[in-house]
Symmetry: C2
Subunit: 315 residues, 2 copies
Amino acid sequence: MIDLPTFSDVEDAFIRIQPYIHITPVLTNTAINKMTGADIYFKCENFQKVGAFKFRGACNAVFSLSDEEAAKGVATHSSGNHAAALALAAKLKETHAYIVMPKNAPGVKKRAVGSYGGVITFCEPTLKDREETLDKIIGESGAAMIHPYNQKEIIAGQGTCALEFMEQQNDLEAIVAPVGGGGLLSGTAITAKYLNPEIEIIGAEPDGADDAYRSLKNNERMPMTNPNTIADGLLTALGDHTFEAITKNVDAIITTSDESIIKAMRLIWERMKIVVEPSSAVALAIILDNKEAFKGKRVGVILTGGNVDMEKLPF
Amino acid sequence: MIDLPTFSDVEDAFIRIQPYIHITPVLTNTAINKMTGADIYFKCENFQKVGAFKFRGACNAVFSLSDEEAAKGVATHSSGNHAAALALAAKLKETHAYIVMPKNAPGVKKRAVGSYGGVITFCEPTLKDREETLDKIIGESGAAMIHPYNQKEIIAGQGTCALEFMEQQNDLEAIVAPVGGGGLLSGTAITAKYLNPEIEIIGAEPDGADDAYRSLKNNERMPMTNPNTIADGLLTALGDHTFEAITKNVDAIITTSDESIIKAMRLIWERMKIVVEPSSAVALAIILDNKEAFKGKRVGVILTGGNVDMEKLPF
């Protein structure tokens, strides 16, 4: 059953997670505005705890559990920001986070999860072994599964970013957010369209992992096959929850190339003096690719995270 | 004659430049505080216009000129942030900035000066040719020479950073600022000691360019010979003005290695998600090198700039 959050769920999530999250700043940049012809407002979730918006959803999911449920721990399989986010949320709730990670995950990701006290179980880097390992852990511990995106509480938590953003900048005409599994885009769209039905909500997707674009075009959830993009946070496919939320609330998905993503990422680093990961730069990349569409508009861009391996920069 | 600014000159400078500068944010980071045992407040001049505190001094110097003087233009020799800062200040005053740069200066620096409308004259990369070229330009144009650091208006302008900082965070027990030519450290010390005579002011210097350290130790201005450090904004030696200001007002100069500077720089990028240049990281490097000295204190750190060649990162 598809159970999507309402605006009221997002408001509840915001109250629930407020003691734990950072209210992240909104930045503007004169040079980038000149370059695009738009007024762009950047919501800096790279400054969020654990360095990514993912902490909002994870925190809402963990703190939505009853004390009894939470005492058994939480579990997920992820090698990315969701894993670190869930580990920190569990630590704050004083319970365990069981994280299943492929044994070939980058050292920097393993250390991040470990540093927040997450209990890591390594598995073979196949979806089958991931899922079997996770099922085994959940069977033994009774831990609550927290999905990285296809879950009501996660979507509601990610929606708090748009809630905050539209309070900070109440005259936005459009919001562009990257789409991978679709948790952020779903939460953003549900929240923003409630607050302002006229606002345009646009998903930005790498063309090397464009299942959301194809799914919207075909009005049917399409599989992701061999995703290949530098935006390593956007390799996952939409779930049934996020597909429905996006179909109902998002105006368009626009895709872009890795070349444009790297160019946009470098522009943000050089001009704004902030560190963002490639997935964060996809939204600015589509604006730079399609200047006419955004010209003269007040556009909100969600910079999703700042966790980059400094030894593997694309420039 | 040594003519140092007073606190009142710094206040005047602040009023003069306020329409043009950014009020830069003060950031803190839990992980870095844990690592050092101190409460560190980072004043983010990497977010200043042109990406460095240098814009404060350049702006004050240019807007201190009479309209008649300013009409003839301003001139300097520099291949760094001062050149870009002076070019932008001159543009805002609607006059010319004549910048003498060695012809082997990095392309990124040339483009920065050019993008703010600076008039570049290339010279041989020797001090002699630099000075002769500059003298010739000043002789022909009547432009006002604006020194990168050894000048009253520049020191007063750089002092506005500490003025702002101590308003934003009024309980600092120490401020650490990098020292190259000494303009920022002089302005910081004059301002901070006036506002709170008890505050400790510490200069942070790369041990590969340690003329300030040696000068304070010998109580005599020592020459800089063959400076060699990754902190390319700190290669210059103290002038007579900055030597006097620092001798009178600074409590200590502490030096550090390039290895520590790179480590601190990477820590700032990875943990704080902001882009700072190597010169900016010297202050945090000395705190990490000397944890006992800073433990339990509220320490202000000035992050001086964020202009980095992304293709030549040290990690």
